[in-house]
Symmetry: C2
Subunit: 207 residues, 2 copies
């Protein structure tokens, strides 16, 4: 898109959810690289950083006490507990970037996504699926650092989450990385062309 079509009007947010092992992280990374106007929304979490994860880039890592105080002060647009750790989206940060005209991409799971859909209008909800169940199991096993019990646990969780696709706007079947990257990029560009988002601009230009 040209700067004309991705201008500094009010931004919108895209939520991407996927059962783990679907390849979501690689897809998001590739898509964000392509669009200077798109920012990754960094979640807060009480989970300790994994090797290679960077504070403020992958997550804002905080203590559980800090997290619970922030819940109490209403700082999170959504938050969930997952495997004993807390994860949340900071409402004011999100609001600030959107008002500055940036579009945000959020990597959150269906429970959190559903809360955003209820309380923050104008969002776009994308669900990424593995090409098949067999492929999902294979990808989960390949992760290496997971025990077999953990693979089973994640597999059950994935199956449970799969059913949530019914209320998402778009579905991407991730059979090949570049196809999935193209699909998510296309969803972004198409959403930029939605009439509702351009109406004021067009009235200014022509009417």
């Amino acid at each position: 898109m040209s700067s004309e079509q991705i201008g500094k009007t009010h931004g919108f947010y895209i939520v991407v959810s996927a059962p783990s092992g679907t390849g979501k992280t690689s897809i998001l990374r590739e898509v964000i690289k392509k669009y200077p106007n798109m920012l990754f929304s960094v979640s807060y979490t009480t989970r300790p950083p994994r090797p290679g994860e960077k504070e403020g880039k992958d997550y804002c890592f905080i203590s559980e006490e800090d997290f619970r105080e922030r819940i109490f002060r209403g700082e999170f647009a959504e938050w969930v507990e997952n495997y004993g750790y807390l994860y949340g989206t900071h409402a004011l940060t999100m609001k600030k970037y959107l008002e500055e005209g940036y579009d945000l991409i959020l990597d959150i799971e269906p429970r959190g996504a559903k809360k955003l859909k209820e309380y923050y209008s104008g969002g776009v909800f994308v669900f990424i699926l593995p090409p098949s169940l067999g492929e999902l199991k294979k990808r989960l096993s390949r992760r290496g650092f997971e025990s077999e019990r953990m693979v089973d646990k994640r597999m059950y969780k994935a199956l449970d989450e799969l059913g949530e696709f019914v209320w998402y706007d778009y579905i991407i079947l991730n059979d090949k990385l570049d196809t999935a990257v193209n699909a998510l990029s296309s969803i972004y560009v198409a959403e930029k062309c939605k009439r509702e988002r351009l109406e004021n601009k067009i009235r200014d230009l022509f009417l």
Copy 2:
């Protein structure tokens, strides 16, 4: 998109409308080239062919008597009169291609588009706009084969049609050809990923 995601399920149609001089024809030509699953819906018309236009490719050229008989038999999904000539979309041909799993792209003006929207569900409606009114006038004048009176006439018609953007799904501002081609391609790919269109396929795969 991979063949997985653009499969031979029931197709859908995309209507593209634009005031003349917006560059619509070049955009459509480029986009159709990219997707083997996308066909151009060839309209019937009573207008005589312009230099270079081919029977069955640009239009099906028929006599006014033939056209009126077809209207009477209910053969057209939509038809309009424009500068004294008749233009129409053949309903059975459209239905046949969609059932075979092809997606159709229709180049029709707002009055005809509106009829399709009313009677044929599942369509996608795209409106292409020039980047500005000044640019539109310039492009209309450049066409060479038009007299000044004809330019004015088309300009008035364009202004009249512009207001129709309010009920279209997507708007493309055609400031640069490749940007506009990318926008229309993205709309197509994104629509392929719409959850409603994939629901049955996903239930087959996972549930």
